[in-house]
């Protein structure tokens, strides 16, 4: 290397590095939180104020903060109905993906049958099928069986599209269970279902938790699938918010408080299950 060792500049940087880096990181963190803070404050201001001035004026006039927007939202049947729809879609989708995926992953990991490797690879390969590819045909299909615009139709779609990832994640975890443990349980006369339920699932709790948090947030936050398959009665909060966007500018009170309302559950899940969430997102990132 031609650079002189430990040049003056390098030493200055090294000396200053610590404090400067720390201040920089604090600035980055604040910068990252600022947009969300802005949304929160805007959601707590009367619309008349939002139209006239920026949310940062709250610093000099904190008295303007009010919960009125949220009160209005709670009284709004459409918004609350759509939020409830989100729950009705996200919870069954999550439970079913875990259950159906776990059974399949167990079979692929620990039951020998011809073509097992092909099936495994086939299912995992489906991970990258983009949702877009299925929109047109599935819309026709659901229409054909009368599930178009219904919550069960949405749930079925989400469970199916969650399946490759579920199998991928759970099978990888199940395979890591020591063979002797399963052998011993089987020799003890344990029925397969019992072994699965009492031994395999508990051991793989981290993977199950990662899968569940990922799937739950994925479905909770989905817009595209709901936009295509939901009708007015089954529309989740994301669709309701997006239809409010058309009047953007005059309805920041509804939009900001609605958006924040829709974020509360994901944020709680995120902070409560950080590890599982991070694991899930990292593993499911190709989805």
């Amino acid at each position: 290397m031609t650079v002189p060792r430990r040049s003056v500049a390098a030493r200055v940087v090294a000396r200053l590095g610590g404090p400067v880096v720390r201040v920089g990181l604090v600035a980055v963190a604040l910068f990252w939180m600022l947009p969300v803070l802005g949304l929160l404050v805007a959601s707590l201001r009367p619309e008349a104020n939002n139209v006239r001035s920026g949310w940062w004026t709250v610093v000099t006039a904190p008295a303007q903060l009010t919960l009125a927007n949220y009160a209005g939202l709670l009284a709004d049947r459409t918004v609350m109905g759509s939020l409830w729809n989100t729950v009705l879609i996200a919870v069954p989708s999550t439970v079913l993906v875990v259950v159906v995926g776990a059974f399949a992953a167990y079979a692929l990991a620990w039951i020998e049958f011809p073509g097992r490797d092909v099936v495994t690879i086939g299912v995992v390969a489906l991970l990258v099928v983009p949702v877009q590819v299925a929109l047109v045909p599935v819309a026709k299909l659901l229409g054909g069986i009368g599930l178009y615009g219904s919550i069960p139709g949405l749930v079925a779609f989400h469970v199916a599209f969650g399946m490759p990832f579920a199998v991928f994640l759970l099978r990888n975890s199940f395979v890591g269970i020591p063979r002797d443990l399963l052998e011993a349980a089987r020799l003890d006369g344990g029925r397969e279902l019992r072994i699965f339920w009492r031994l395999v699932l508990p051991i793989s709790r981290p993977a199950v938790a990662a899968l569940a948090t990922f799937q739950f947030l994925w479905v909770w936050n989905d817009l595209l699938v709901a936009l295509v398959f939901a009708d007015e009665a089954s529309a989740p909060i994301t669709v309701a918010l997006r239809s409010q966007l058309r009047q953007f500018g005059s309805n920041v009170d509804v939009l900001a408080s609605g958006a924040f309302l829709s974020m509360i559950v994901p944020l709680v899940v995120f902070f409560a299950f950080q590890r599982a969430f991070v694991q899930g997102v990292l593993a499911g990132s190709t989805k």
Partner: protein
Amino acid sequence: MTRPTGPLSGGSHRLAALFLTPALLLVVVFLVYPTAYSLVRSMFDARGDEFVGVENYVTAFTDDRTLVALRNSVIWVLVAPSLVTTIGLVLAVVTERIRWATAFRLVMFMPLAISLVASGIIFRLVYEEDPDRGLVNAVAVSVHDVFSPASPYQGARPREGGGLVVGPDGALETAPVGAQGAVGLPITGFDPVELPAQAASAVLPEPGAGLRGLVWLDVGGTPDRTGEVDAGERGVPGIAVEVWEAGRVVATATTGDDGRFTVPDLTGGPYTIRLAAANFAEPFRGLTWLGPVLVTPVVIAAWLWIMTGFAMTLIVAGLASIPRDALEAARVDGATEWQVFRRVTVPLLSPVLLVVFVTLVINVLKVFDLVFVIAPGSVQEEANVLALQVWQVSFGAGGGDQGLGSALAVLLFLLVLPAVVFNIRRFRGDRS
């Protein structure tokens, strides 16, 4: 498949079938069949009646709107993943020895929990054009005003026949004048209440040494004599005056409270007096972030806000697996931190960086909600990307061409297909 996982003493084909059927049924009905259907459908016309071969694919590469979407997708792929990987790498390395790194990473990761719709609404607020409401423009305007304060005399123009004309760059200019004179420069076009309180009555200076002049607000009305100083008319304070000779500025002055200015040491001439456009500039109101030109960079910035935490977290995990010895050895050899980073950390991390990059590329190709929500309806065409165009063509307003929609979906699929190989490799690698 290297690792033996069966057969165990128990377990039967029947049981395997029982366990697998629900999952396989779901993926066949919702993933395999639709993919095949889309492939076939992409070769039929809009209504699905007539076989058109590759016509839809030809349309995809010739139709203006789709080409814009494709072009934007290319911009996204070229810019966004490498940017996020780089920032993620820097943050991962920098936070390595910080005690509160966990809290920092938590903050950075949080946007991933928020729906893209909510993120979109957040950024609609941030980039709102009105600087009284949008944060970015509010900051831009205050920074701008520190360096060049807004003029109180917006919209000023020369009084017709008063000696000033509008120059090519918006400045107000006189015809050439000689020194030893007093030049009256009447302007109009703004309300007298805009004049600062200290503005004094306008009086044309007596001719004398140097070049003298008066800039005043020549108001209209019945007693008014156009281009003449009337009673009650006031000077315009604080106007920057430039004196030009032969194409360059030879002197500058600023008008006083009575609107007068003097450039004492000028002789001869002729000179042109100019009042630069900046004296009368409209106030800076920030940029139209959500307009046709800037909307894609703005949406990419929002995506960056969301995905940086993701990249950083993956890279942090990769950093943890780098052997400490290699770094220490380099440091002992006298390498600077930059050299350690450049020649040891990055090469050792490159497999992880590749994973991050590929994953981000896939994510970018599927970006839909963000563009859909952040770009206002009027510029959605300019901000369009492939994943959004699939929806627009098949289901959007004025769309309904499911043939072209299917072709675009297949195209999208083909673009993310390389990731299949990558994923399976990783999958198999994990197990060996």
